[in-house]
Subunit: 163 residues, 2 copies
């Protein structure tokens, strides 16, 4: 299943963040762990799986390579602009984990935004209030289609169907 | 690899949202698609994979079953409180997909928050400003450990190491 072809922006984002390794690779690049061997050392991931995940992230233009040595060629892996913009999703994921999975030891890490320790909150771009399932619904959008991954959901969305 | 045991709240959240199917099942339950056969019809997922993903979501207490028929037993699958609280993460993922993966057709669906069409923005709980990689860093937390999944990241986090 190629989730990048599903007519759903959630599916397309999770085509990129397709498993926990991918999320942790993005996390590591964001904090400054840029080299293959360092990623192996941090994550305890096999070299084969890391190679495959990096290839997918390169293909999706989440990551790019910057050569730091020519012979033999060696690369730093860095986040692209769209890769950097995944981080707020990971901050929201981190705050969910802090709330529901802290395992009695307290949060493994804290987020520091500017000069304050903070949690990430997902809010509405228009009114600034938190967006929760209680006050948020999905509406039909112009790119919606009935297809695999969205076979029935159209009848559960609100508002007019675009012509 | 059991990501729920990694000393990282991002890893623990992605232990739950561990592949695109899991995210799409949570999406469907949130919009009111509650039955096994409807999930199959919407997602085009195999019954075997859906059974496995629902079992994992039940085990993680993201989903619970409510019987709607006794003989043979049949269940509605509904989100628990912690499952409902995953939705803001999916809203943030949806807005990223709308921005970076709209495929020229426009967004497949829109978010309606109360009475306005909106995007999801991840902001700081303290100041209300967007949290981005430019102004957010990770700090040591009390539950941090050097272990698989966090082997080196400690040296990239900020602030004092908890005693």
């Amino acid at each position: 299943m190629d989730f990048s072809t599903v007519h759903c922006s959630i599916a397309r984002t999770f085509a990129v963040l397709s498993d926990p390794w991918s999320a942790l690779i993005v996390r590591d690049l964001a904090v400054g762990i840029h080299r293959f061997d360092e990623l192996v050392g941090d994550l305890g991931i096999s070299r084969k799986i890391l190679t495959a995940r990096l290839a997918t992230l390169l293909e999706h233009e989440i990551v790019e390579r910057q050569p730091y040595q020519q012979n033999p060629p060696r690369y730093d892996y860095v986040l692209t602009e769209q890769g950097r913009e995944l981080m707020p999703i990971l901050y929201a994921a981190m705050s969910w984990g802090d709330r529901w999975r802290d395992g009695n030891a307290g949060p493994p890490a804290l987020l520091r935004h500017r000069d304050h320790t903070a949690a990430a909150v997902v809010v509405c771009s228009e009114c600034g209030e938190p967006m929760t399932l209680d006050d948020t619904v999905g509406q039909h959008g112009p790119g919606g289609r009935r297809a695999r991954g969205t076979g029935l959901i159209g009848s559960h969305l609100h508002g007019p169907v675009p012509g």
